[in-house]
Amino acid sequence: MQQHYNYAFFDEASKREIRRAIIKGVSIPGYQVPFASREMPIGRGWGTGGLQITLSLIGRSDVLKVIDQGSDDSVNAVNIKKLVADTTDVEVTEATEEATLIQSRHRIPERPLRADQILVLQVPTPEPLRSFEPREAVTRRLHAEADYTGAWLELFDQIVRHGTTTTGADHPVLVNGRYVMAPSPIPRFDNLKLHQADHLTLLGAGREKKIYAVPPHTDVAPLDFEDYPFSVERFDGKRCRLCGAEGVYLDELVDEATGETYHQCNDTAFCAARRAAREDAPSEGSWEGGRHA
């Protein structure tokens, strides 16, 4: 632990300010609470929102896990973990079940989170209405009036053009029947994990200076139409090449030597745990397989 910083990097006044925003976010599920996003030693847009929440929460009894698109070992995750570990004295882990605090970019772990765990999601674009309304003053008014015509029209437009909604990730959700919220760019596959979850989810957007939250046991409904119901990514008949898992979120990869495509668990910790549990771990597996962007 580096002693020349305050514990958890921030001064206490910054923590208080972020904590106040978190409390209001939890009290108004899905509403984006403005906060004074701090300059961080990593660039805005690289997880500073999530990092600021994590630093305001973290303490001696915490165990931290940081994931970047399902992986514990990618650059973003490793560097955030390093920064937090260097300025606190917390333990870090890759095992989802051991963590008390999980900061994640673009995924919710496969293993369901418990009530005593807090999920912190990094958010690049917190405003679900931004794609059709660039003015913040206007989007705030639209949220105030619960005027989500534009959000529905956008999905409607996609259906008219493409026969289906084309939101790959960050499919808008209606939280607690009131606020339309960007769930951060998690795949549609993960959207349903927010609905009536056991855990608290906090979302932080550093560049856009917003904090919002989904409390446990809260209704989270993806926007959809009766005749075009929400659907998640499907991997029928596909399984992870390494651990054989089915019914999880898979990455599609190409073996550049043979040109053959194969699939692999996106959640590396989940996959590694499954393989460790199996005595006869496959011999082919050097576990650094390419991940797609």
């Binding site: 514990y7 300010e17 939890v26 105030a144 009036e145 529905w152 029947g177 608290l200």
Partner: protein, 334 residues
């Protein structure tokens, strides 16, 4: 203001306790009391001060609701560097445990609700009380009698007592309770034990219903009378001298258990005066669900959420008011 190391960690633990309390309204969590301070005024106990210090600093304003508010307020502003503000403007309202029902009702009743555009401006009321206790889940009060743990038994006896006492206002003397609540057995017999009321909460963060017991319910009546329209509203944090904490966010509906006419926190009632809000052209998109809902009265964020799982009232509201104008040919949009 420079926080020593232990201070900082106590704050962090306290925040996690309070955050848990907000994430799971109606469950009892704990904070460690602030360290002793010879100049602390009698109105503030160490636990309430700890919760105040958690959030209040030079960036926010506060108001102390007490008959002798000046001593507490000048103490808090010298300790936290926060500015005092009138009740209606304050970001935080501090109600000491000893404040009488009238003062507490006024504080809760007149605290700022925020605006529809900036609901986060709604006040957080930090309220002392003589006693908080858990009430086990389910039908609670009665089931717990055979519970082996002293804590459960205590809650049960308190719950029963609350039913008998009925609507009696929080008569507890803070002083007596803080002496009495130190030990954990047979407290009900002790002199000065305050009458306990059981409050049930529903809404986001609550799986079915969370119950807790508290000695004062003046805040509950005042909160129900406010008639805030979600997302506007106030947060209430109850703190007892032992450091137990319960949070009641605006998204929760609260009712007194055993009260013949449950005081649900009605937020989107038809008689809610929208003209008072900053936004005049409020669309009340949840209103269809109010009017059509079989649940009738208990309308708030929570029940609107429940309804949306089945019928998506928001969408109906939109189709009825806005979408139709713009895409009138599209009958498909619900």
């Amino acid at each position: 203001m420079i926080a020593g190391d232990e201070d900082l960690h106590r704050m962090q633990r306290a925040f996690r306790g309070v955050l848990d309390a907000f994430a799971r309204p109606g469950t009892v969590h704990s904070v460690e009391p602030a360290p002793g301070n010879p100049v602390r005024p009698v109105a503030l106990d160490a636990s309430l001060e700890q919760v105040v210090r958690l959030f209040v600093d030079q960036a926010v304003t506060f108001f102390v609701a007490d008959s002798e508010a000046d001593a507490a307020a000048s103490y808090l502003s010298s300790e936290t560097h926060a500015r005092r503000a009138p009740l209606r403007d304050a970001d935080f309202v501090v109600v000491p445990a000893r404040a009488d029902a009238q003062t507490a009702r006024e504080a809760v009743g007149e605290a700022c609700r925020g605006t529809l555009v900036a609901p986060e401006k709604g006040t957080t009321v930090l309220m002392g009380c003589a006693r908080l206790a858990e009430v086990p889940a389910g039908d609670g009060a009665d089931e717990a009698r055979d519970g082996s743990e002293a804590d459960e038994a205590r809650s049960a006896s308190e719950a029963d007592e609350a039913k008998e006492v009925g609507k009696a206002e929080g008569t507890g003397e803070a002083k007596g309770a803080s002496e009495a609540s130190g030990c954990d057995t047979s407290e009900a017999k002790e002199v000065g034990e305050p009458a306990m009321h059981v409050v049930a909460l529903r809404g986001p963060g609550v799986e079915r219903e969370n119950r807790f017991a508290v000695d004062r319910v003046d805040w509950l009546h005042a909160r129900a009378e406010r008639g805030d329209e979600f997302p506007c509203g106030i947060e209430i944090v109850l703190v007892d001298p032992e450091g137990r904490v319960v949070a009641i966010p605006r998204s929760s509906s609260a009712a007194l258990v055993g009260d013949p006419s449950p005081m649900f926190h009605v937020k989107q009632s038809p008689h809610c005066n929208a003209a008072e809000e900053q936004m005049f052209h409020v669309k009340h998109s949840e209103e269809p669900s109010c009017e059509e809902s079989p649940r009738g009265g208990s309308v708030d964020g929570a029940s609107a959420g429940e309804a949306s799982a089945n019928e998506a009232p928001l969408c109906e509201g939109l189709a009825g008011e806005a979408l139709v104008d713009e895409i009138s040919a599209n009958g498909e949009v619900r």
